[in-house]
Amino acid sequence: MKIKGLIKKAQKDRKWLPGKAGQEEMVGFGLIIVIVAIIFIVLISLYIKKPTEELSDYEIDSFIQSALQYTTTCEDASGNQTLQKVIGKCQDNELCAYRNMNPCIILNATIKNMIKESWGNVGTEGQIRGYNFIINVTERTSEEEIQFLNIKNGVATNEYRGSGQTLPYSRGNIYVSFYVYY
């Protein structure tokens, strides 16, 4: 009786076994797929989020630096003055010795022409959509930053590059910044 009962039970289990094993295999396979998918997603996200080394805006930095060294038409006893010296002269309301030229007019015209020749025309047909060249002056006595010159053209968009430099000046500091909008 016992043996018969055991055989019956085994037969019953056997009926259930293939189904259960199939289900377990399906679950296992599903788990493997899920794990692999997670690994795949993690790998891709790591690959996409890989930090790219961005260089600082060397181009605008160099443009400001080079522009400040430009020899202008403002002539003094020591010869033609650089743009950096002309900024100081304009701030101090000094005239250029030669022909009593106004340094502020020279400064404005030189910067505008330089930007036009270097960055191209502004607007839809140009490479850039706008620019903003700002010179701020901080005097030692007041410590207050005053906007001394602001040359802008075109439109200011959210896509831009910019840089700035602080220069020493007889009565304080000059901060020159330049932004190019695309």
């Binding site: 260089l55 181009e59 160099s62 080079s66 430009y70 010869g79 022409n113 330089m114 020749e117 270097s118």
Partner: protein, 178 residues
Amino acid sequence: MVKTRKFKRGQMKIQQMSFMLIAVFLFFALVGMIVLSFMLGNIRESATTLKEQNAKLLVSRMASSPELWCGEVYGREKTDCIDLDKAMALKANIREYSEFWKISSLEIQKIYPKAIPNKITECTVANYPNCNMITLINKKDSYDVSNYVALCRKEVYNNKVVNTCELGKITVGYEGVE
């Protein structure tokens, strides 16, 4: 009879397992291949980007190389300043420097004040400084990276030697990955 049935079931199980293993192996292989092809596909692009970054670094440092840098000749030490007189001397001896920077091209162009008429005139010993382009290296077609520089030179004005600095661009060419 029971033994035979059991043997068949065992065979079936082994078969199932082997199919499963093959399927899992194929699945992993497929996923691996997709990942590899995705990563390998970007290697060329990465190599070109790396070369471009190196060229950017090189172009931003080129003006500070002793072969071109102004130094203290034009007053205080200046950055982004190229001595045009040095550049002309370098042009005459460029053969010795052709492999020095490992670049495809090296050009210095005056951009402001604008040349009248507006055309590119290559600098030679005969026309210097009334020219606006110094081509130092020009090996082959390449990708270009440029940077702004001050181009300074000594000039005789009213019987005096004066410093003249203009605005220019230095362009470095590098080879992309083929």
